[in-house]
Symmetry: C2
Subunit: 219 residues, 2 copies
DNA sequence: ATACTGAATATCGGATACAATAATCAAGCG
DNA sequence: CGCTTGATTATTGTATCCGATATTCAGTAT
């Protein structure tokens, strides 16, 4: 076999492509809470029938990103202050644990990558990029844990709340504060102090929770 | 309005009915790991077309209960020893935390209900019932926490592994040991000792993990 | 006998068409 | 004028049909 081979496997169906596109729009906050998602309209956007659209919406509903009512359609699922408070507590619990497992397994490459994401975060120009680099920074550290199941749950949870995190980063001091805390977390990781990394991560998340709730209440 | 009104709302579509039925069969272990799920076969069973079947399968895939390959179909998703180990650690983390939150919020009714489930558990006759009452016992205690998001994650995780728990309960000493540990947990709850309840729950889960891994390795 | 080739079958992904339900709106009645 | 009632429209849920892909198996050549 002397020719170069390309993996031609179509691993992605129309449904999953549509799902990913919608998910991205929701996570980035381009689709607002409660905004209805019409099957016909989406089908026309992607030049497909409604069948794959319906499967995409089914996936998103399972992920908690949209809420569907029979014969009434799907809307972007919002989040109540109570839910928000609980989800941030959950994040502190799980992400705090995962980073403690991760620290002793981090390589020089892990730390370098996290450092690079931190620099990109500081240099980024708008809420979209801030959110992206923020998330990448944390996930690189978590991924060193090798805890696949935990990581999947974390990703799902972040998908659910990423747009609120982006909004918080945009507020006054949000960016500077996050940056300082990120550096402290990374220092603890570099020092191999798992307990400290866990404690700082929990503080980071619970501090964000307090800010978020204060702002949600302001509305 | 003087007549009795019945909620005639059809909250359940064909897809969700099929999904629940398949989920029950998988969770109870009646469908074995790797067993293929043919669309038209299932469609015939429920007297529907394949469309709602496909939506049910996408739901189950999102929940991690089936694995789908494009143009090849869906099979019941098994679990590797590594995944099992990680999932039990996750359970210890989350369920341990949730019960600590729950203890101070438990009412006399909560404890009575848990007690009743314990009795039913001891009186039950086979692996199916053991599994059901075991799960109900734990969930009643967790539910007192009021932590909706955490509870949802716990339910999803238990769906994923319930058949393995059932299998473990059927093994020698599995039942007696679980019963003794359940009583200890309930006692701690009744005494209002959240820390103790959390510690016992974690032991309960991590002990089960050790048993499970020993048995998985024996194969 | 074995390995390759190609047709036949089984199964899945998607498009079109129809049925069921909800939302809108106009007409009639008090 | 407000409320109800019925028809119209919009949207969703499901069935049927068609094209795409994978699998199986018979046939053939080496």
């Amino acid at each position: 076999m002397k020719i170069d081979s390309v993996d031609i496997a179509q691993t992605s169906s129309a449904a999953s492509i549509i799902c990913e596109a919608l998910k991205k729009a929701i996570v980035e906050g381009r689709l607002k809470d409660g905004e209805p998602l019409r099957q016909d309209e989406i089908a026309r956007m992607f030049n497909t029938s409604r069948i794959p659209v319906r499967e995409a919406l089914t996936m998103l509903e399972q992920q908690g990103l949209v809420a569907t009512q029979r014969y009434k359609g799907a809307v972007v699922a919002g989040i109540s202050p109570d839910e928000a408070a609980e989800i941030w507590d959950f994040r502190a619990l799980v992400e705090g644990h995962v980073i403690e497992v991760a620290v002793p397994r981090m390589t020089a490459g892990t730390l370098a990558e996290a450092q690079a994401h931190l620099a990109a975060f500081a240099a980024a120009a708008g809420p979209m990029e801030w959110g992206d680099w923020n998330r990448r920074f944390h996930m690189v550290l978590y991924r060193a844990s090798g805890l696949t199941y935990h990581l999947g749950i974390i990703e799902k949870t972040l998908d659910r709340v990423d747009r609120y995190i982006r909004a918080q980063l945009s507020l006054s001091n949000g960016l500077a504060r996050a940056d300082a805390e990120h550096r402290a977390i990374l220092d603890a990781c570099a020092a191999g102090d798992a307990g400290q990394a866990g404690a700082l991560t929990r503080q980071h998340i619970l501090g964000a929770k307090a800010n978020l709730l204060a702002n949600l209440r302001a509305d």
